[in-house]
């Protein structure tokens, strides 16, 4: 184990995968000469050259489609879309081609594509640059969507995505790039579709992913001092979704709070709440609660931005209400 940043874990994994497999190449805006908007690809152009690390013009639909076409031919493209907001320019290629080519061809065609893209607000980038749109992609059969919260998963899930024969969207988060944590040395490939219990507990289950899982863990540790034992589940993958781990936890704790950075209506939390209703209804002692972003385009001004995003206070209140005034 070595302690490195989430950013470094992503960078080192890209480098290792480029070294491991000649068919892996990187494609995206400003990933080469500029070394990436968030510097995940720093140094890789110098090391691997423009054939393997390809700067593109600003044309998300075009270069994402090019990556899908290259994947159809057996290459393993890793596309960086600068933020998930810009993926909307490419959504036809992702949803109508990447997700469906295997099915439409009756299994003749594989699309071993990775799209890396960060979501998240809190950087005062305002409404168009702060969205959490991962559920749009998690809705679509044929795609996989993983969302590493920890530095170890930044390595393990990215490596798994690159080696997977299906199209995988790897959701990163602007607020996590500088976080640090232990990362296994050497080869580390996570299993896509398995949630993790970040902290075991008895009284309530907190479910989150990406930044929300990190905050949830922090809240749970604080509550432990106050005598509340919360179990924290990091979903790690939105599709496939590990419903069994969520339901098993709620059957044990009988209470659940879901934390998500996306908007409440039709969001990830709605799917998790329905999963709990289907898989653990008889075990519930309180209504399932959701903590999500306020349903507004995220404002620029700091106090408004902070008020709109889920935080430790909101999660703590929801947990206390669920526990009936503990």
């Amino acid at each position: 184990m070595t302690v490195i940043s989430y950013r470094q874990a992503l960078h080192d994994t890209l480098r290792a995968e480029l070294q491991r497999d000649e068919n892996v190449f990187l494609l995206g805006e400003e990933i080469g000469v500029f070394e990436g908007s968030y510097k995940i690809t720093a140094g890789l152009l110098a090391e691997f050259g423009p054939r393997r690390v390809r700067d593109t013009p600003i044309c998300e639909e075009g270069f994402t489609g090019v990556a899908i076409g290259a994947a159809m031919m057996g290459l393993r493209p890793v596309v960086e879309i600068m933020t998930i907001n810009f993926s909307l320019l490419a959504i036809d290629q992702i949803v109508n081609n990447a997700a469906k080519l295997r099915s439409l061809s009756g299994g003749q065609i594989s699309v071993p594509l990775v799209i890396r893209t960060p979501g998240g607000g809190g950087q005062q980038l305002s409404a168009t640059h702060s969205q959490n749109l991962e559920v749009w992609y998690a809705h679509v059969p044929g795609l996989k969507v993983v969302a590493p919260a920890t530095c170890a998963d930044a390595k393990g899930l990215l490596a798994a995505a690159i080696r997977d024969d299906d199209p995988v969207l790897v959701l990163e988060n602007l607020a996590l790039y500088n976080t640090k944590g232990e990362v296994p040395d050497g080869e580390h490939v996570a299993e896509i579709g398995r949630a993790a219990v970040l902290k075991p507990g008895r009284d309530v289950t907190i479910v989150g992913y990406s930044r929300a899982a990190v905050i949830a863990l922090d809240v749970a540790r604080h509550l432990e001092d106050g005598g509340i034992s919360a179990e924290v589940i990091d979903l790690r993958s939105l599709r496939p979704l590990d419903r069994d781990t969520v339901c098993a936890s709620v059957r044990k704790t009988s209470r659940a709070v879901i934390v998500e950075d996306d908007w409440l209506s039709y969001g990830t939390g709605a799917e998790i709440a329905a999963t709990i209703a289907e898989g653990a209804f008889d075990y519930l002692d309180a209504p399932v609660r959701r903590v999500a972003a306020a349903e507004v385009p995220l404002p620029y001004a700091k106090p408004l931005e902070l008020a709109a995003l889920p935080d430790a206070g909101a999660i703590t209140r929801a947990i206390r209400e669920t526990l009936g005034g503990h």
């Binding site: 639909e61 489609g65 899908i68 036809d92 295997r102 009756g106 496939p240």
Partner: protein, 297 residues
Amino acid sequence: MVGLTAALRDEDYLFATYREHGYALARGADPGRVMAELFGRTDGLSNGRGGSMHLFDTARRLLGGYGIVGGQIPLATGAAFAIAYKDAPGPDAPAVMCLLGDATTNIGAFHESLNLAALWHLPVVYVIVNNQLGMGTPVEAAAAEPELWKRGCAYRMPGQRVDGNDVVTVRDAARTALDRARGEHQPTLLETVSYRLRGHSVVDAARYRTAEDTERLRREDPLPAFRSHLIASDVLTDEAASQLDAEAGKAVAAAVDFADASPPPDVATLFEHVYATPAASVYRGLPGDPVTGGEPG
């Protein structure tokens, strides 16, 4: 269609539009399997998953018909990227042909793809099959530059407009463009101008043109015209041409019989071909569900 596919070699890749049926046959796809796909049967090229608009035959390097207008253009550009990624240009290198309709030249994906192909020197030939109508809209009402091949000039891409009703001219132009793609890794925008004699689809009564227009255009139909040309040039006899017609009719009848005999897909296969590695998803208890195996969850 005949001219374009005659210019392709076995090692070349073809991306088509939703009007890809003839191209599939010309690439050598089994007519019975093509028909079975149209019928939605097990023995269809895509096991009944794709239907009329999505014919794939990877063994013949037919990488799809595409139902979303222009969806294939970035993919074809990506296939050309993969060729250039793996190998140097040369007279025996593979190339990609990407078909598109006239109306497709107005979408962003077309322009983004042409820019990337020219910028990165990719071995792809974009062919605009200009039938002068996007559903019911004439080219002049949709494109500010109705000489569509000129749109490649913005990307310094070689281009040419040819008579799409002249099969030999089409083949020669396509061959020249494909040679440029394989030998130099340079893309081309080729425009072939023809006309659509029938409606866009089964719901199209073609009220946007007169019966006189249609009759005039029918006289320019390249199929009887080329037949007459071959007979006049002593390449083909009337008898041999009729023989070919009869053989084609028999092949169609055999394909229909094959498709009719092929069973519809078993609902137990509903979840097949969605993922390379089965992905747990929903508690539905549907047959073949990778989560429950068909048992209610």
